[in-house]
């Protein structure tokens, strides 16, 4: 006899989607590749200036603001790429491979599927960002000596995650609409570069190098 159907709670469905997404994301070669790439970028950020200075017979000088200014700043680009690649085929890739069809016919609402996928991506990004940030902070400490304002790392981490979540949402939405991973990625990259260029132009007109400097400039100045 057939079982009397009882719809599971929203939390059960949501967690099932998160589990589904995490399990297959973590095993993806692309995901592991990007993780390695992000660490390579972070390592280059730390080591490359030292090597270049040594090649020019310049000593490595202590820089107590390295982690907050240079390190995390360049890491952000790696973070963006990481976020992009990890979600660019989360929905569109499933449409392309056809695995989305069985998922969409399960008794889970489309909104729950979307939210579950975003949350799973958030958990992945959170883990990866935390590891990368610790790596950069430790590397900065070892190479450039004791660092100032390390307490700001948490704000930077939070900011990076939140901004990446916005990017992820855009890429996921584009993937859902276009059902093409390529279009989703291209659009994400296009918007990112567009904003970078716009930021450069704006900084020329406003005479501010970047947002943190702007915040510091706006803070009460000592006489």
């Amino acid at each position: 006899m057939t079982k009397k159907a009882t719809r599971p709670s929203w939390t059960t469905s949501f967690l099932a989607i998160v589990r589904y997404e995490l399990l297959w994301n973590i095993r993806k070669k692309k995901f592991l590749g990007v993780l390695i790439l992000a660490f390579v970028f972070a390592t280059l950020t730390l080591v490359l200036p030292v090597i270049l200075r040594n090649l020019n017979n310049l000593p490595t000088e202590p820089n107590p603001d390295y982690v907050i200014t240079t390190g995390i700043g360049f890491g952000g680009f790696a973070f963006f790429l990481f976020a992009l690649v990890s979600v660019m085929n989360s929905i569109s890739g499933e449409f392309e491979s056809g695995s989305m069809i069985p998922l969409l016919t399960k008794p889970v609402s489309r909104t729950t599927i979307y939210l579950g996928k975003i949350f799973a991506a958030f958990l992945i990004i959170l883990g990866a960002y935390t590891l990368l940030t610790i790596y950069l902070a430790l590397g900065g400490f070892i190479i450039y000596g004791p660092q100032n304002n390390l307490h700001l790392i948490f704000i930077t981490l939070f900011g990076s995650i939140m901004s990446t979540l916005v990017w992820m949402s855009i890429v996921l939405a584009m993937g859902s609409v276009s059902k093409s991973s390529m279009l989703a990625a291209l659009l994400g990259i296009g918007v990112w570069f567009g904003l970078m260029i716009a930021q450069g132009i704006l900084s020329v007109f406003s005479n501010q190098a970047w947002i943190l400097t702007y915040a510091l400039e706006k803070a009460p100045q000592e006489p």
Partner: protein, 350 residues
Amino acid sequence: MLLTILFVHGPTIIDNKLNLFLRHLGLELGGAGVTLAIETVNLTKRYGRLTAVDKLNLNVSANTVHGFLGPNGAGKTTTIKVLVGLLKPDEGVARIFGEEVSGDKPDVRLRIGYMPELPKFPKHLKGWELLDIYGRMYGLSQQQRRDQLPKLFELVGLKGREKDLIGKYSKGMQQRLGIAQALLNEPELVILDEPSLGLDPVGMVEVRELIKGVAKEGMTVFLSSHLLFEVQQVCSHVTIINKGVALVSDTIENVSHKMKGPATLQIEVTKLSDVIIKNLRKLPFVTDVKTENNKLNITIETRDDVRPQVSETITNSGGTIVSMNLVGQSLEDVFVQLVGKAEQEGGQKQ
């Protein structure tokens, strides 16, 4: 505006709510005492200029095995995609157990087990993990999943491969996994889109037996196929569709009988004589008799079983029947006849 909504949609809303309420009580509403598992009314789906499904009226009674037969591009998969909520119809209504399926309806999907045509699953997941996660989505408890999953893997012939990554599964194995996930929650309605596609001959026989077993469990099975013998062997009812239009829908027996046109009796006779042929031609339903060595090909213009009369005529005329075979009433003949006729009519219109 409010009045329009009340008058136009009111009865439907009340009907749906009443159905929902009765279902909670374990009862069901249905036309003329028959519960309809699937019902479509003037269902139409277009892709640009192409009308894939054209005012389709489909009724599938509960607890039947209903075949959905048609050539490639007939609109079978499009209809099924509308039924499972993957596509929105342009016109008309589709209902599953009385509930409309258009839009995002998880409650309706809860009652359906669906296997898409050549199903694809995330290749980085293991077979067991996939069914376990799908089980969670259906609200199965951990204990239920532990009980159900091994049975399903055994049922579809994937025992021993549960822990393998789906990426390592062959096409046939993915097909079997597709059937397993469709049966996971023991649904009231199982929709299978070309279940035998990609399977080897042994697998095809196994799937047919599986479907028969599922029907015995009390599930309604709706399966699309282009394999006539599959539908004939498994289904009790059939709907034949071509170019998005349902050509006929009834029990397989009735569909065969409804068709007009000659059938042929092939009879092998010893001591074949002119007397036998002459007497056979006198029978009112016989339109033609042809001979080839000891074989008779008798064309008959009736759907009644006239074999006893033919047999009696031959025996009384001094002949002995070695074998008798009635051809021309199989589903295949009906299918070819119907589709051919539809193509012809389409051609004339153009």
